[in-house]
């Protein structure tokens, strides 16, 4: 346990010392928010202000982008010699990976707050109680944790940090083909099926519902199940992959 904390501290220090990566992690989400609201705001007819509709989706996208960095940092660790050092100090693979995931969570928490602030600046007005807002944030962070573990497993699968970056594009696809940016009913039939049954849709719907104070029932159960499922399975796969690569 203490090992995991020391590893988290290390990962945070490493994040803070890569200025380009940090800048990208903070600026990219902000830029995405601005682009989507202004680019699509006039063209997409939702019925409500587009910024209110799309803000949760962009938050999800930002979370995904941030979590995907974990794939790169894990891959970099494996490529160097430091993992050997940790292993000879009897640090478990899970502790090392948990360190990366924890740093990812903290990085994303900061960028999430930043993006919400920018959304406010663009006219986003949540109609939620404090509890609903906190619940939305909590769900978002749970999603970040799950996506980070997924990214960690991906980082163990590939050999080059550049290939690990492609994890980002894979995850982003899920965000686009969901109700994050446009309602599912406006999609062609072949995409609709996929969009309605993949994790990004219920998660976005729940966050959106919580933030905008919707009265209808939210797919909270589905969202939680997806997050926990992806997280736990990824953790297991990551542990197996780590053991296999360090045999």
């Amino acid at each position: 346990m203490s090992d995991a904390l020391i590893m988290a501290g290390r990962s945070l220090r490493l994040s803070a010392r890569s200025p380009e990566a940090l800048l990208t992690a903070l600026m990219l989400p902000v830029m995405l928010m601005v682009v989507f609201v202004y680019l699509f705001g006039g063209a997409v007819n939702i019925g409500t202000a587009y910024v209110d509709y799309v803000a949760p989706g962009v938050l999800l996208l930002c979370a995904v982008t941030g979590a995907a960095t974990t794939a790169v940092t894990v891959c970099q660790d494996m490529a160097g010699g430091i993992i050997d050092r940790f292993r000879s100090l009897d640090v478990s693979g899970t502790a090392v990976l948990a360190g990366h995931v924890t740093a990812s969570l903290l990085r994303n928490f900061v960028s999430t707050l930043l993006v919400i602030a920018v959304a406010f600046g663009l006219g986003f007005r949540p109609h939620s109680s404090i509890t609903a807002f906190a619940a939305a944030l909590g769900l978002l962070l749970l999603f970040v944790a799950a996506a980070s573990w997924f990214a960690a497993a991906f980082g163990l699968l590939v050999r080059a940090p550049e290939a690990a970056n492609s994890a980002m594009f894979f995850l982003m696809f899920f965000c686009y083909a969901s109700s994050a940016f446009v309602p599912v009913r406006t999609m062609p039939t072949w995409l609709r099926g996929f969009a309605s049954h993949q994790p990004a849709t219920p998660i976005t719907e729940t966050i959106r519902g919580l933030l905008l104070g919707h009265s209808r029932p939210l797919p909270l159960g589905s969202a939680l199940a997806w997050c926990l499922g992806i997280g736990v399975v990824s953790m297991g796969i990551a542990a197996v992959l780590f053991r296999r690569r360090t045999a």
């Binding site: 203490s2 090992d3 490493l14 430091i82 050997d84 050092r85 000879s88 100090l89 640090v91 045999a247």
Partner: protein, 340 residues
């Protein structure tokens, strides 16, 4: 260095010469006093048999060198002994514990410094050592003090606050070794410690290793440099293509081949031909250009004199002679049948 020098250094480090060095009981198995004991180690990667039955015995408190060319299996051997890789066959006990059954116990008593520095480039020297200290179970204060102590010992105090990425190759190696010493291991594995270093850094590295040896820890190093093995190790094992082909002290290994070589130069071509026919199958070296033949000899004065008199009773065939001390290069050539 030879036994006498090591004992002398050990004496100044509070251990009496001839006595088991301090820490031997902790590092060696209670019964055998061996810090490293391996039997029949085997390891294959895909279809390649990297190790094919390796036996090793290293008494506690000594310096042991595994000598071999690139691809011999040195790094694989060290990684198996350091519990980072599982052998396909055979057993090994390090610091008194089995490497397969008691990995944690072994890891707590050993360290491995590989060819490529195992450090965070983005952190400073101090931060790296403090982190290793905390991971070894030291408190924040203890880790800070230990880091400070090691940085001083390895002359890195001035660079301690700089990121490792700014360090030179020699400094990185020193910090790497310092990092492996944080937990005070009783067995230190060094995988090719001076590969890639310039001559000056190599000399500095040797002094560091000699200092470590004097403190009583067991050192197991791998190397492809014969000079390094000869200088640092009490015992050497020669590894080639996955098996140990020779083992002993540097002196013993040299004796396996022939202690010395006597090169005799003929006074004329006819004399040269006569010498060739006299020595016959004993000749190990021949040079038509300089009219020289070489034969093995123990090298002592009586034998050389007798050899020269027997070959040239009339004192008119031999123009010149020279005695060569056999080097480990010759040993290697003879034992492996190919240049390293």
């Amino acid at each position: 260095m030879n036994e006498r020098d090591r004992a002398g250094l050990a004496a100044t480090a509070h251990a009496a010469p001839g006595q088991a060095p301090r820490g031997a009981a902790a590092s060696g198995h209670a019964d055998t006093g061996l810090a490293v004991e391996a039997t029949g180690l085997a390891k294959s990667y895909k279809d390649v048999r990297v190790l094919d039955g390796v036996d090793l015995r290293v008494p506690a408190g000594t310096v042991f060198a595994l000598l071999g060319p690139n691809g011999a299996g040195k790094t694989t051997t060290v990684r198996i002994l350091a519990t980072l890789v599982r052998a396909d066959g055979g057993q090994a006990r390090v610091a008194g514990f089995d490497v397969a059954q008691d990995r944690s116990k072994v890891r707590r008593r050993i360290s491995l410094t590989g060819q490529f520095a195992a450090l965070d480039e983005v952190q400073t020297g101090t931060e790296n050592l403090r982190m290793m200290g905390r991971l070894s179970g030291l408190s924040r204060t203890q880790a800070r003090e230990r880091a400070h102590e090691l940085l001083g010992q390895f002359e890195l105090t001035k660079a301690a606050g700089r990121r490792v990425a700014t360090y030179s190759g020699g400094m990185r190696r020193r910090l790497d070794i310092a990092a492996s010493l944080v937990a005070r291991p009783s067995v230190i594995f060094l995988d090719e410690p001076s590969t890639g270093l310039d001559p000056q850094s190599r000399l500095a590295m040797w002094r560091v290793i000699e200092g470590l040896a004097a403190s009583g820890v067991t050192i197991f190093l791998t190397t492809q440099y014969l000079e390094e093995a000869e200088r640092l190790a009490d015992r050497i094992a020669v590894l080639d293509a996955g098996t140990i082909i020779a083992e002993g002290t540097a002196a013993e290994l040299k004796r396996k081949v022939a202690a010395q070589r006597l090169d005799i130069t003929g006074a004329s071509r006819a004399a040269y031909e006569q010498l060739i026919s006299y020595f016959g199958t004993r000749i190990v070296h021949q040079d038509d250009g300089s009219l020289t033949v070489g034969v093995p000899t123990e090298g002592d004065a009586a034998e050389v004199r007798a050899l020269l008199d027997a070959a040239d009773p009339g004192r008119d065939l031999i123009a010149d002679f020279r005695l060569h001390s056999v080097t480990l290069d010759d040993v290697f050539l003879t034992l492996t049948g190919h240049a390293k």
